[in-house]
Symmetry: C2
Subunit: 308 residues, 2 copies
């Protein structure tokens, strides 16, 4: 399968490298890190074994990649304005698109750009950090859930799951993608949000503070309420299970807080704004999410950084 | 009347200078700014006329002030641990204590230190900035409300009001001090809080943003709910009136956000923690205040500043 990866951050490099290692034809689009990856390849350090790939098919421009069977969009949702021009040269008649982006509505966005194409969503439950150009550390192997936007999983999606599992990605297929997305938000909303709102603290700092731990639980339950208003049921045990898993991760900084500390754009609308708006449209108020969203909107704006 | 002023920030200097100007015997306790004030006096720039006082009775130590008729505590509540030792030398049998500090419970704290003494609370509705040692700019003359802790206003308090008005302080006496305090929180909770949580923005930045303006209104209404649970009624028009007043203030930075930006302690417990706890003890949940409080607790801790 010819696979194009748009974006060479931690997610794109990590999954792309795993797919190349099992013999798939993978092409990486890289901009700032192009020279370094061309020269040094990609290095992955993970619990099931470190590996280096050199050479890799790395491209400065989408034109040299050409049409692919599968395009994986692995850029931040904050760069969605650039997705169309970067992706279009890879999209032929039978191309499938798969978004690995955080938050809600990226699938709808891709469907809008490429109507009639199969669009998949991949939810990555994983702890990665891109520590250098082309170098990714994986702290927790985690898992990935894929599903189709507004459709039951097709045979293609089932086959993709098998390929992903051969690549060591621990993949499962969700029939209800929206539910899977909201379950992911149960983690992302409090932990990505409070680590930023706390000025760059870790998940461990949060869980060692009883007031912040309570906020985590309250935010998780607000997401459950939002999901319920949209017709999805998330078990009442789920928040506590997520908290226990997070304790096992030690002093982790989610990708959003790393972006924040490096003064890069943060996916405020996709992770906090969109679920709040969807819940409000369904008639429920999520006051703590609302507070967090508006504060993050200000805290993460370049405007604020210039002003303070 | 012999008046001792503990603390030479904006509030202490401003009100002390006004009282000295009408002939009261005022003594200022200053630490870092002692030399500057001793040499240059105090300079006030205000809408009803600028003035400079030189010399002023400025002291490095409370011992040289001696017993006063009235002691005004004008330090931040975050320095309350130092209040006892700084204040005790000024307190004789008939001394009255008056706190000009932000937030709740400072009156209870003073009563605990000096049981049997008359303790007054002064709520300062004013926009001041101490721009240099001994130099205070007053943006809005505003007003001050005084009242007695757990007692109706005595003749002494009525007389004090007259003196304060002679000094141009626009003073009134409240019988229900607790109500007055909660009404002041209606302003302080959202504006002091969101200017900090926004990373150092102004009241105008907040009011020009529709999401943050809604949070202001929501927080104000939560304070009304908290007050109601404690048996006090604040009019439903009051929040909107406060917002309109604030529009007239232009791009104002409340004292808390200036402290925050200068990495000085912020009165997080007095302004946000204590009203939240009192409301929770009375059986109401104030979710947006709860969120804001815990975030400010982290954002304003020296710990975070060291870590980020």
């Amino acid at each position: 399968m010819k696979i194009g990866i748009i974006g060479s951050g931690a997610i794109g490099l990590y999954y792309g490298a795993r797919l190349q290692r099992i013999g798939q034809e993978v092409h990486f689009l890289a901009r700032t890190d192009f020279e370094s990856i061309r020269k040094n390849g990609i290095q992955i350090r993970a619990g099931d074994g470190d590996f280096t790939l050199n050479p890799v098919n790395v491209h400065k421009s989408s034109e040299t990649i050409g049409v692919c069977d599968l395009v994986i969009v692995a850029m931040k949702a904050t760069s969605n304005h650039a997705v169309e021009s970067l992706t279009r040269p890879l999209v032929g008649e039978a191309t499938t698109l798969l978004t690995f982006q955080n938050g809600l509505s990226n699938d709808r966005f891709l469907t809008g750009l490429f109507p009639g194409h199969r669009v998949l969503n991949g939810l990555c439950f994983i702890c990665l950090n891109r520590v250098d150009p082309g170098v990714v550390d994986c702290f927790i192997l985690g898992s990935i859930s894929i599903g189709e936007f507004k459709a039951k999983a097709s045979l293609f999606t089932q086959q993709l799951k098998d390929i992903f599992n051969e690549a060591g990605m621990n993949c499962s297929v969700y029939d209800d993608l929206q539910l899977a997305q909201w379950k992911k938000l149960v983690w992302n909303v409090p932990f990505n949000g409070l680590t930023i709102a706390g000025g760059g603290i870790t998940t461990q700092d949060i869980l060692e503070d009883s007031g912040l731990s309570q906020l985590v639980l309250d935010l998780m339950n607000e997401i459950r309420e939002g999901a319920a208003a949209l017709g999805m049921s998330i078990s009442s045990d789920f928040p506590q299970e997520q908290i226990e898993k997070t304790r096992g991760m030690g002093p982790y900084k989610p990708s959003s807080v790393i972006d924040f500390l490096q003064k890069k754009p943060v996916e405020v609308e996709a992770i906090w704004g969109e679920p709040l708006r969807q819940a409000q449209a369904a008639g429920v108020q999520l006051p703590k999410l609302e507070m967090l969203y508006h504060l993050l909107r200000i805290t993460c704006s370049g405007d604020r950084l210039a002003r303070a």
